[in-house]
Symmetry: none
Subunit: 402 residues, 2 copies
């Protein structure tokens, strides 16, 4: 039978470079991933283009078939969608950090890694008046997002987050005439927020306990919310996303995928993978396209921890063993980018890719890793190529010409 | 360690098609090239795009990451830079040939392959007055380059070189309204040069010796000098070029690479390869990016000489054995284009490529040739992809998105 549905598994940052002759994927126990490779067609994929290190947002957009050079306008809009703000075309959105300032200087960019900021969120939304519509939403730990809604806003502004400590708490400046209104509002927001937070009981309590007070909010990643055509409109597939990281949830939401929260999913090495896989698997009953993002390997890559990365891939593989086998599903495994432990950051190396399911040209590749997949039948693709290939395997390819 | 520097070795025209089942690269003794392949990641590369036979200039531009469709405006500017003229944006430059005309017809397009033309160069520069700034510079043998500098110049002109003998010595015509001023100047130049050369003692002597006098200059390859961002500005790498062919030197100079001349380098089969390799290797102490172009195999390809090409590749391989092994270097081997002996000209076949050095995904390819590299881990790239990949391996990739 022709596959009807797609399960797209993105092993965030799992792709790597060899260390002493082998990558974490090559070193991990991964019989389930290898079985998928063996029964599928494999290849390597530059999610953006050869040699360009992708950010997670640009990579996911490209994999979903949205040209990132058109739709990626900065990280703010995706973070804002990720924390649940209803972003609209033309809004300007920012990533935020609660931070600690003393005598006008930033002394802790994460406010002592403060955990619960819901009360502070409320105080900001109630105590600040900008004369325009705005919404601030706290995220996990010290993080959050800010949305400004008014005519004439722009992302032509510098971040108020200087991205280091020991320097004055930032003011923003417009980088063009267009950005002046937005810059004024941001500076106003920053000043009012400082007053609201400074006197807040939570911060008085933190100070008395010797903890860093969350007394300022730093803004960065300014972006004008783009118009992104909904995934279902674009492909005719009812779609859902299972993910833990705010940014990934934001991308899914901005594409109007249905976000399915997972209990115990953290986006880290301690994430509950069984729950995520069960959620993704169950979602296939209701949806035609399910994206499952598993983040931990990326974290281990950023930490430069080869062992943790390898073991986590083993855990993923183990959990994948519990995926039911279904004739009607096209299972796709890939990564959004490489995060080599030797680099501790995203690199421009291509990622390995499997497409497994009825109809694919099984190619003799027997292992899911960077080296073996490079010998696969898909050869070397770009991220933007993936969705057309998958749609075609569903029998929904768009014919060009009669 | 992360590689810090790049040695890019371009085996000009070495790539070929099989003759009786093997290409010159497959037939040559090349243990050093094969060792690089074995320790590196391999692939094939369309320097322009599949099936398009590249010129040397367009191929080199693409390999250096300059879009040739944007920066290649004709061969003149590169030849002019190659003979050492200081080209500036907006100049119009030409390739020139000293030739012999009799009774208004061209009888020898190379003026008896005249060797030393420095005196004639001087006579032309001193004896011609165009009313605008110009510079003529002799190159090797009968070759040279002409630069015109004035407002309103254009390359919309026909060449004065008819590219055959027995026909009238060419006059130029504008191919558009824009080209009219330039055409007038070229015709004026041609006429004045003929007067200056005709009476020159060198030509009187040549005629008395029965040699073809160099009594006219033919112009072709008109091009407006483009603004090419300096390589160092583009990549942050201090760069140097070791090459012998004027055109390649011109490309390097126009990209503001530091040209390092090599004693005994000829661009032919008799070139002193040991000196070139030593120069390139020494340059790596001072520069971050060293381009080494070795031209001879291209010449053998144009001559259709399989044996000479194969033997010359063996010589290159032998000389490469003297490259020191350095942990901090990324060594790249490729060709700018194929020059199949069966074609005697450039073809559109992709060229084999090795990237060898720390961090690359070694792929199991053990031989540097057109067939084995096609099975490599890089798969099939384009020339413009190479620099982003190399920059990423140096840890200097430009991330797209946060």
């Amino acid at each position: 039978m022709t596959p009807q549905k797609i399960l797209l598994i993105i092993l965030d940052g799992a792709s790597d470079r060899p260390v002493d002759g082998a990558t974490p994927l090559q070193s991990a126990k991964k019989s389930n991933l290898d079985a998928l490779a063996k029964n599928g067609i494999c290849g390597i994929m530059d999610t953006i283009s050869p040699g360009v290190p992708p950010g997670s947002a640009t990579a996911h957009l490209a994999i979903f078939g949205y040209d990132p050079y058109k739709y990626y306008t900065g990280r703010g809009p995706f973070e804002a969608a990720g924390v649940g703000l209803e972003v609209r075309k033309g809004d300007v959105a920012f990533r935020c950090n609660f931070a600690t300032a003393r005598d006008g200087k930033i002394v802790d960019r994460r406010a002592g890694r403060i955990r619960d900021t819901k009360e502070l969120e409320k105080a900001v939304n109630e105590g600040v008046d900008l004369g325009i519509e705005f919404q601030f939403r706290a995220g996990t730990a010290h993080r959050g997002a800010l949305l400004l809604r008014a005519p004439g806003l722009s992302s032509d502004v510098t971040p108020t987050d200087p991205n280091k400590e020991g320097v004055p708490a930032g003011r923003t400046k417009a980088t063009s005439k267009k950005g002046e209104k937005t810059a004024r509002i941001m500076n106003d927001f920053t000043a009012q927020v400082a007053k609201v937070l400074d006197k807040h009981p939570i911060n008085k309590k933190r100070a008395s306990e010797g903890k860093s007070p969350a007394n300022i909010l730093l803004l960065r990643g300014a972006g004008v919310v783009p118009h992104i055509p909904p995934f279902e409109e674009k492909y005719g597939l009812r779609s859902a996303a299972v993910a833990a990281a705010g940014l990934i949830i934001g991308i899914a939401r901005i594409c109007r995928m249905n976000f399915i929260p997972t209990e115990g999913a953290t986006g880290g090495l301690d994430s509950n993978l069984d729950n995520k896989i069960k959620n993704a698997s169950d979602a296939l009953d209701k949806y035609d396209f399910v994206m499952l993002n598993i983040k931990g390997a990326d974290e281990a890559g950023h930490d430069g921890d080869f062992k943790a990365k390898t073991e986590f891939i083993g855990k993923i593989d183990d959990a994948l063993g519990r995926l039911p086998r279904r004739e009607d599903i096209l299972t796709v495994v890939t990564a959004d980018h490489s995060t080599p432990v030797s680099v501790k950051n995203h690199s421009g190396d291509p990622v390995p890719l499997i497409i497994s399911g009825n109809g694919v040209r099984v190619d003799g590749v027997e292992k899911y890793d960077e080296i073996n997949c490079a010998r696969g039948g898909l050869n070397r693709l770009r991220g933007m190529d993936l969705m057309p290939i998958l749609m075609d395997l569903l029998g929904k390819g768009k014919k060009f010409g009669e």
